[in-house]
Symmetry: D2
Subunit: 133 residues, 4 copies
Amino acid sequence: MSVREMLNTHPMTDGQVSDALVACIEQCFRCGSVCASCADACLGEEMVASLRRCIQLNLDCAVICLATGQVAIRRTSENREVLMKMIDACARACAACGEECARHAESHEHCRVCADECHRCEDACREALTLMQ
Amino acid sequence: MSVREMLNTHPMTDGQVSDALVACIEQCFRCGSVCASCADACLGEEMVASLRRCIQLNLDCAVICLATGQVAIRRTSENREVLMKMIDACARACAACGEECARHAESHEHCRVCADECHRCEDACREALTLMQ
Amino acid sequence: MSVREMLNTHPMTDGQVSDALVACIEQCFRCGSVCASCADACLGEEMVASLRRCIQLNLDCAVICLATGQVAIRRTSENREVLMKMIDACARACAACGEECARHAESHEHCRVCADECHRCEDACREALTLMQ
Amino acid sequence: MSVREMLNTHPMTDGQVSDALVACIEQCFRCGSVCASCADACLGEEMVASLRRCIQLNLDCAVICLATGQVAIRRTSENREVLMKMIDACARACAACGEECARHAESHEHCRVCADECHRCEDACREALTLMQ
C-alpha cells in the first residue's frame, strides 16, 4: 500500500487524501502497466491484423493511465480543474479500451484480464471524480 | 518537420491530417520538454520556496503534453472522444502553467520562455479541437 | 498479481517469464509512483531548498523506473541488450535516489518509505539482470 | 530552439551546457515522437504481421528517448553516472530500431524517415557521451 503510505506522510495533506483518490492513483499505475502488456500480447497473436484497434486503444490507455497517475499523486498545489479533466479522460480511455478488449476476451485471456483491469480503473476514476465535484 | 513527414507517409491517413493537428502534436512535444526544463530551472532558483506552485504546474504540464502528443500522433484507429478530452486537458494544463509562469517572467527568463511556449501550445490545442468538432 | 497474470497468457512466453523479471517489472511501476510522490512531498516541505538534490533524483528515478517497466513488460521480440542496459540504468537510478532519500529518512517519513522502495527496486533489477546474463 | 534557450537561462548552468548535450536532448524528444508515430504507421500496414519486431523496437525506442530527454534536460544536480547510462541505453535503442526500420525503408517511407531519425539520435547520444567522459 505504498501510495497510501506516501500520501499519509506528505507535508501538505495531513492524511486527508480520500480513499477514492488513493484507489484511483493505484489503479492508474496498475492499469497502465496491464494495458502496455496487453498491447504487446496482442501484437504477438497470429491474428494481429484483426487486433489493430485493440493495440492502439491499449497503447493510448497505457499512456493516459500513467500520466493521470503521475498528475494525481502530486498534492503540493491545487490544480483541481486540470486533474479532473485528466481523470475524466482516463475514465473514457479505460472505457474504450475495456470495451474493445472485452470483445476478444474469449479468444485471448490477456484481453480478459485487461478488460477487467480497465473496468476497475474506470470505476475508480469515476468514484474519485464524484468525490471531487 | 518530422511529424508532418511521418503522417504524410502513414498508411491510413493519405496525407489527410490537418495542419492544425500536426501543429498541435509538434507543440505538445516541444512544450513538454520546455516545461520539464522550467520545473528544473525553478528548482535551482534561490527563491525555490516561492516557486513551488510553478514547479508542480510545470511537472503536470510536462507529463500531460508528452502524453497528449503520443496519443494524438496515433492515426491507425479513430478514438476521437478520448483524443479530444486529452487535447482539452492539455490546453487547460498549458493555460494554468503559462499563467503561473507569466507571473515570474520578469524575474526568471526561463519562466518567460516557458509561458510563451505554454500559450502557443494552448492555442495549438484549441485550434486542433475546433477543427475536430 | 496482474503482471504475472498478463505474462502467463502472453502468446510468446508460454509462461516462461522468470519470477525475477516479473518482480522487477512490478517493482519498477511501484517505485516509479513512489518516487514521483516523494519528489512532490519534498517540494512541499519547509526546508525545500535543502531537498533540491533529493527532488531531482526522485524525478529522474520516477521517469527511469516507469520507462524500464514499460520496456521490460514487452515480450514479443527479443531486444535483450537494450533491456539489460535499461534495467542497469534503473538499478543505478534507484541506488542514487535511495541513498539520498535515506539521508532524510529521519526527518521525513516519505523519504524513509521511498528509500526502502528504491532499495527493493534496485535489488529486483539486479536479480533480473543476474538471471539474464 | 527552445531547449538551448531554456538551458541558457537556467540558474545553475551559466550557459555552460555543451552544444552536444543540447543537440542530444532535442534529438531525443524528436526521435521519441517519430518512433511513436512509426510504431503506429507499421501497425496500420497490411503486412503488419511481418512488422511485429519493428513495432516493438519502435515502442521501446520511443519510451527510452522520451525518458532520456527528460533526465538529460535536468541540470540542477549532477547525476552524471545515471545520465550517462541512460544516454548509452538510448543510443543502443536507436541503433536497434534504426537498423530494423532500415530493413523496411524501401517498402515503407515512414520506416525510412524513422531510420534516419534514429541514426541522428544515436549519433547525438554518442557525441554527448564522448564529451561527458
